[in-house]
Assembly symmetry: C2
Homo-oligomer: 204 residues x 2
DNA sequence: GGGGGCATGTTGACGCGATCAACATGCCCC
DNA sequence: GGGGCATGTTGATCGCGTCAACATGCCCCC
């Protein structure tokens, strides 16, 4: 994809910067990332990063973009596995979203959470985020057609679903949920509540 | 409550600082708040705020604390109005939480959202947040006793409910939800899904 | 085969924001 | 009527983002 192994001076500083930035975000948030410190960690000078990113924001954007690529890939994978219009497909997408957040907290933070950049001003991220959202809307639309879920504005349904997943993901990675609580139960019940809300209610 | 009207030099700089900080957070996030700028806006020098807050963090903490006080007050109010154990009581609390976030985005951001401080390290905020959460748990417990909702770990139920409300509040104040979507519908459906998830399912 | 040129890095300098220290100014209390 | 604390102010220091000028490899073209 990018440069391969050992080009010029450092090697592939650009990729290393993105990885290191993510690590530093996980440790101390975006403020914990300083051009000076990241340079030092990678054995280059403070201004070296500027040869690869116009400014610090661009570096953080790259981290977010990497995150969007990963999340998109994961969602499409589980979605492909569980093709068709079973409700399980939606459940798995929700779980995968939350799992992604837990496994990539730094990326999630700059994508959607605390530390998130003004997506509105970063066309690249905006597009990536929209693509994921649109995919969800498509999935919901498909389920509406096949009769599994209520017929109503699929975008509203998508926002409801996203809200639940995002809220839970945020609380989990910001460690707002106490350790002695059964996290899996919370995740399970959240997705259940969500599916119940979407499911076409059987006439009683 | 605090100082009254016109004490020493400025008047009540302390309160003014908290208000102004909230306004500045709404405009440009916590990074948009600089001791210099806030001083200038209030007609004092850059170091004046230090006479009232040991550092910038303390000022932001004060904003968050104000927010917690307001939210707590609002929740207790609606809760009192709709006493008893009707499901409507839970719905109203959820709606009020979201409404608070929409009306006080700056406060919400530093309390729970993006820009949130490490609550873990601010005993004052930690306690305020816990109190609100515990109150929710109590309400859920009461509803369990009166049979309105499923009997299961009320803390898990509380986290599920909080996740949904927090997720929606976050997306709304971060303007992630497009303007042409029916926001009230999203709010309504979120709370509905939540209540359905909590409600004791009628045996069919 | 050698020189020019671009890609990469490095160091020095500037400006901004947080914060501390030393100094100024009201007011209230004894 | 003066001392002392509460409030403010100005000067100075330090870290950080960022730009400019300068250094260093390497690859490509003649």
């Amino acid at each position: 994809m990018t440069k391969s192994a050992a080009p010029y001076h450092h090697g592939s500083l650009k990729d290393a910067l993105v990885d290191e930035a993510a690590a530093m975000i996980a440790e101390g948030g975006v403020d914990g990332v300083t051009m000076r410190a990241i340079g030092e960690r990678l054995g280059v000078s403070r201004a070296a990063p500027y040869r690869h990113f116009p400014d610090k924001t661009a570096l953080i954007v790259a981290v977010a973009a990497t995150g969007f690529a990963r999340l998109s890939h994961r969602l499409r994978s589980v979605d492909a596995e569980a093709a068709g219009a079973s409700l399980g497909r939606i459940r798995r997408m929700g779980e995968e979203y939350i799992r992604f957040a837990i496994e990539n907290p730094a990326h999630y933070r700059v994508m959607y959470g605390k530390e998130a950049l003004a997506r509105r001003e970063q066309p690249e991220l905006r597009q990536a985020g929209d693509a994921i959202f649109d995919h969800l809307v498509d999935v919901l639309r498909a389920h509406q057609r096949s009769g599994g879920i209520k017929r109503q504005d699929p975008r509203v349904q998508a926002y409801v679903a996203w809200s639940a997943a995002h809220g839970l993901a945020s609380l989990l990675i910001e460690e707002q949920i106490l350790a002695d609580v059964d996290v899996d139960a919370v995740i399970g019940q959240t997705t259940n509540a969500l599916l119940n809300g979407l499911r076409r209610r059987a006439r009683r």
